[in-house]
Subunit: 105 residues, 2 copies
């Protein structure tokens, strides 16, 4: 388990729990405009916020998702995520209510 | 991606999406008393229902969780899950709102 890591640009504090084949990211809102504040209002006890899939090339993966009808959140361009790698998010309505993150490894 | 598989004892129809290091389980209610019906009422667009962690010995894992204060759902004894292996569920209130399944591999 990692130390708590403040990510002011992302409005969260994170702790990573490393498992042999995956990683659990614990998230806590940071600051007044945290992007996870609305989630906690809707789910006061907490919950599973999103799933992240690692991809080799985020632009290829993004364009493939778009061709299949998925919407990219925000400007549609990758940002640098908590691991210092490019990430983007796909619209939950296009994935049966699941917020999906893609991260380039 | 697997074929859809009816699991009448569990009240769900499942499809498994196999990834190199994990598996995504798509769930649909089956029958009138499906245990996931309430989840869909609360989340009409769908959502992430639970996370499953594989363990080597489910009784050891269960007792360790209990010692740490987690509650086991139901009778507290493992049942046979969709993969034909022993599973049990832990109370979401003890995991920040996340329903946790343990599966013996």
């Amino acid at each position: 388990m990692s130390q708590a890591q403040a990510e002011p640009e992302h409005g969260v504090t994170v702790v990573f729990v490393e498992l042999p084949n995956t990683k659990v990211e614990l998230l806590e809102p940071l600051g007044e405009k945290s992007p996870i504040a609305a989630f906690l209002e809707k789910n006061p006890s907490g919950g599973i916020h999103h799933m992240c899939f690692e991809v080799e090339d985020i632009m290829t993966a993004r364009d493939r998702m778009i061709r299949q009808g998925a919407r990219v959140l925000g400007e549609g361009e990758p940002k640098i995520g908590a691991h210092g790698k490019p990430v983007l998010f796909l619209h939950p309505k296009d994935f049966c209510g699941t917020l999906v993150e893609l991260e380039q490894v």
